[in-house]
């Protein structure tokens, strides 16, 4: 029998050499009586095989909407109005219901923020794992049970917990069980939407450590969503910062930490008090994120930006390379030149 440890790195069909996930110009709108709100506006990024890609930003910036769009979980009033989401070369937006059902969980799985809400309270952990196998694969219950034991071992849960109900497990154990279920079909991409926000700091560290080990062992890619930049830098290889529906900066995590180019990234990093060094007064980010029904003209961050100049009010800066492997959307980045056709528009 195939075991999870044999999972081949990034073996996801013909396009294995290219990115696992390629999001291009994604646009998601929420329809409201008062008008449409564009929650995700022209977002593009790639995630390579075995890469951990982080997506950071404040609540309401659209990061969870992207996750739900990739899983094709968006429901009215939300609608994908443009762009493409390619998973291993296949555009997920073209798939029908049945194809989608087969793709979900097998190729891309998701771990949600609250483990308690993503587990069925009236089914044992074991039954819920077996459910995944029998739904997606022709497999006997017995074989599925054996696989379930292996999966739980993978996340350090003792096999006798198969008979436990979710409420009998601690918060950390529940989240580990959710991760095990997400990995059951060996997806090439795992989406994690704030997987540790509801957990205590010590448990959070244990889970993060475990995710890191599993990722290195199994080689899947991760789209990791959080508002905690420190946590993100520890786990992800590359990260993007999102503001008001747009990506404002994309760079390798260490580069982003050492040399953030966008003022918003800088402000977001400055919103966390340090654990070492002298006590310095932090200012956070003044005001609140914009109302997305009427986003500001020009750069969307300009009303809160301490460095904003006049042009920021009128020119909407696209994401452009500011340094090697480092893109930012800010007029103030040295050497940043807005392409002519863009600035005229």
């Amino acid at each position: 029998m195939e075991t999870l440890t044999e999972l081949e790195r990034g073996n996801i069909g013909p396009a294995a050499a290219g990115p696992v996930l390629s999001v291009k110009n994604l646009q998601v709108q929420y329809t409201a009586e008062s008008g449409n709100v564009t929650a995700v506006d022209g977002v593009s990024f790639d995630i390579g095989a075995g890469e951990v890609f982080g997506l950071a930003g404040e609540s309401g910036c659209g990061k969870s909407t992207i996750a739900n769009a990739i899983m094709r979980l968006l429901q009215t009033p939300a609608k994908i109005t443009g762009g493409s989401i390619e998973l291993a070369g296949r555009n997920l937006l073209d798939l029908g219901e049945e194809e989608l059902r087969r793709t979900r969980w097998r190729d891309v799985a998701m771990v949600f923020q609250s483990a308690m809400n993503s587990l069925n309270p009236v089914m044992t952990i074991g039954d819920q794992i077996v459910d995944v196998f029998t739904t997606h694969e022709k497999m006997s219950k017995q074989a599925a049970r054996e696989r379930a034991v292996e999966l739980l071992k993978l996340v350090d849960i003792s096999p006798d917990r198969l008979k436990s109900y979710p409420h009998q497990l601690s918060g950390g154990m529940r989240q580990r069980a959710v991760i095990a279920i997400a990995l059951a079909l060996k997806p090439s991409l795992l989406i994690m939407d704030e997987p540790t926000t509801a957990l205590d700091v010590v448990v959070q560290q244990e889970i993060m450590h475990q995710i890191k080990e599993l990722q290195q062992q199994l080689g899947f890619s991760i789209l990791f969503i959080t508002h905690d930049i420190s946590l993100m830098v520890e786990l992800s290889h590359r990260m993007a910062v999102m503001y008001a529906g747009k990506l404002v900066e994309v760079a390798p995590s260490k580069t982003m930490l050492d040399n953030p180019l966008h003022p918003y990234t800088n402000a977001l990093m400055g919103a966390f008090p340090p654990l070492t060094g002298p006590r310095v007064e932090l200012i956070g980010i003044p005001d609140a994120p914009p109302n997305m029904a009427h986003p500001p003209t020009g750069c969307r961050f300009h009303p809160r930006c301490p460095l904003a100049i006049d042009s920021c009010r009128t020119i909407e800066p696209p994401l452009l390379p500011g340094a090697e492997n480092h893109e930012a959307a800010c007029l103030l980045v040295p050497g940043y030149v807005v392409p002519r056709e863009r600035s005229r528009r």
Binding site: D200, V202, M208, S230, L275
Partner: protein, 316 residues
């Protein structure tokens, strides 16, 4: 960022501490006969809070930190121990009638700013009520003036008095909750995880506000949190709680630079820190004293303003 009000380290600052907690314990009964069992949520806890001092109480969920806040807010009766406020032994002398006076000195700010504000009332109501209950009978004009003052103190415009809670952002709601606590001019505010439900970008604003209130009005605060970095940021003194025990306490910066108790070390190592160079493996739980037998409760003084509980000998 030096506080205008003195903290414990300044000589001759205050005569006696504002709050003295002595050997406080709280047991909860679980189950019913014959399966009754007892859980000790707070075990023999003693500490002081000086006038104008911000004390942080940190620990994981279930460590008993919120139970202490609830006892201090008199929402919970302790199993044993003393609570001395302004030199008065509260549980020994005060009766229910006097709790009004107590609450005019001790106010609370809760974690969930939406749950703590009645959605059916305007902001004005939340601030008027404590003033009417506790204050003198102000004329409508004087009352209005006080309300505007309160709103200005917490950084909100007076036009917000007419709004309902749902029309405010989380940060604004929490500011209203703080204004409500301030309305009766308390001597101490108990803030139980006031920022944990707020967005990252507004957390610092609330912390800065708490600091400002201390600096300008001399209000003491007990800041309960699981976020060590924020405790280091605003609190003069930090105390660490583990499974009902107060295991370490001291000047915040000093304590976090040189944590002594294994549990404090565990907590600190678990805080994600992008600047940390080496990866920290999570230590095994049992090695941290969390599941170890309770010690004698003996405190070791590490410096004038830093102590830790003696770690039980692992041989036992």
């Amino acid at each position: 960022m030096s506080p205008a009000y003195s903290t414990s380290s300044l000589p001759g600052a205050a005569t006696a501490p504002l709050v003295q907690v002595r050997n406080l314990s709280k047991d909860y009964q679980l189950g019913s006969f014959p399966f009754r069992s007892t859980v000790r949520a707070v075990n023999d806890v003693s500490f002081d809070i000086n006038r104008g001092e911000i004390v942080a109480l940190v620990g994981e969920s279930g460590s008993g930190k919120s139970t202490i806040a609830r006892i201090l807010a008199r929402l919970e009766q302790p199993t044993g121990g003393q609570l001395i406020l302004d030199g008065q032994d509260i549980f020994a002398t005060e009766r229910r009638r006097a709790s009004m006076r107590y609450r005019s000195k001790v106010q609370m700010v809760f974690q969930d700013p939406f749950g703590s504000l009645n959605p059916a009332h305007r902001i004005e109501h939340f601030l008027t009520r404590p003033l009417q209950l506790h204050g003198e009978n102000d004329s409508p004009r004087a009352l209005k003036l006080k309300l505007c003052e309160l709103m200005a103190t917490v950084g909100l415009g007076e036009q917000m008095l007419d709004r309902y809670p749902h029309q405010l952002s989380g940060g604004q709601r929490q500011r209203v909750a703080i204004a409500r606590a301030l309305a009766v001019e308390p001597e101490i505010i108990l803030a139980d995880e006031p920022t944990s439900m707020l967005d990252v970008s507004v957390r610092i604003g609330i912390l800065n506000l708490m600091r400002k209130l201390r600096d300008e009005r001399g209000v003491s605060m007990l800041y309960i949190t699981h976020d060590l970095a924020s405790a280091r940021y605003i609190a003069d003194t930090t105390m660490v709680m583990c499974a009902g025990d107060l295991v370490e306490g001291g000047e915040s910066i000093e304590l976090m630079a040189a944590p002594h108790h294994p549990y404090t070390q565990l907590l600190l190592s678990a805080v994600p820190d992008a600047r940390r160079t080496q990866t920290v493996r999570p230590p095994k739980r049992d090695a941290t004293g969390r599941n170890a037998p309770r010690g004698t409760g003996e405190r070791i003084a590490l410096s004038k303003s830093h102590w830790a509980l003696k770690v039980p000998d692992p041989a036992h």
